[in-house]
Point group: C2
Chain length 193, copies 2
């Protein structure tokens, strides 16, 4: 679906367009195709040649970003690694992808589209990992895992907002996991048995 024996330079153009669209639309979701084309270093008509309309462009953007996110998660071995390790690695990977494709990943997925299916897979992976963490005693038995997952997403989103490309993903990930599991309340004294 994605590669139809496209010529090398055409492939590069598509990449440039998608990256430009991400940058420009993140700054202004209502930006014109002209602005995207300028950022990509191509003519506006070239965009229209590859993507029939604006919707097609954003769809491609969404699926491209979702694929990268899936890869970032799979690289963390959500099914096999110890839950805490998996959570940490996945979080750090996801932070990197999300910081580069924030707009594309915030795009509402058309029902039935590939991006939508990928989003479902992502949610499932996340839910599975959290369940494993719960079974390991990392998460309270009575916790509402759906709420926990949403909080987790929110923490990731918040980490990206305030972070002006400063802190490294591992530091941010550590803080996210810590906040998710322990909150901001006082820590039990370390001297307890």
């Amino acid at each position: 679906m994605s590669d139809k024996t496209l010529r090398a330079d055409a492939e590069r153009s598509v990449r440039a367009i998608l990256e430009a669209a991400e940058h420009v639309l993140a700054a202004d979701p209502g930006a014109s195709m002209e602005q995207i084309a300028a950022e990509a270093g191509v003519a506006r008509t070239t965009i229209h040649r590859r993507f029939a309309n604006r919707q097609a462009l954003t769809d491609a953007l969404a699926t491209s970003a979702a694929r990268q996110l899936v890869k970032a998660i799979d690289d963390g071995r959500p099914d096999t690694a110890p839950p805490l390790v998996a959570m940490h690695r996945i979080t750090a990977n996801v932070l990197e992808v999300k910081s580069a494709w924030a707009f594309a990943l915030a795009l509402p997925a058309e029902p039935g589209s590939e991006a939508s299916l990928l989003q479902r897979d992502i949610n499932d992976s996340c839910a599975l990992t959290l369940r494993r963490a719960q079974n390991d005693g990392l998460i309270d038995e009575k916790a509402d895992l759906d709420w926990v997952r949403r909080v987790y997403y929110a923490l990731i989103g918040e980490s990206l907002h305030g972070n002006a490309e400063g802190a490294d993903p591992d530091t941010l990930a550590a803080r996210i996991i810590d906040t998710l599991l322990r909150g901001a309340g006082p820590r039990p004294s370390r001297s307890a048995p």
Copy 2:
């Protein structure tokens, strides 16, 4: 600035327009003035008489919503009530205002605008309340209060997303405070002294 001896019907029109703008733009940020006018039950030109252009309208929307948010926070007595009580009341109040003015409050505030100043006040109030909570031992001494505040905002935002006008604000507020202070990890056994 807001009331310049405006006639009674005009005042009503302005209100209707602002509420309509909130509803329509929340559903589609790129909606036309025409759609807003239709929702408000007025002619599009009427909007243009009150608000020179789209920017003026969204500015007014932002300041109007920010004022309501300030009021919601002040009603919670952030300076005098016990921190935990204040946090709960403020959260519940803010949830109500934010669910009604989600779009307006997400609007980027122009530097120097009234909305921007109000946002600063809001952040200050929140920071103050958190500091009081920290002094009371509700929040860990070593916690980064700026991060705590951002997490708090993120939890409020997430609560509004998933909540299809279902749960009541007090229940949501309780969950937010609980998650903020304790996280999702296992609870210490209740039998401890």
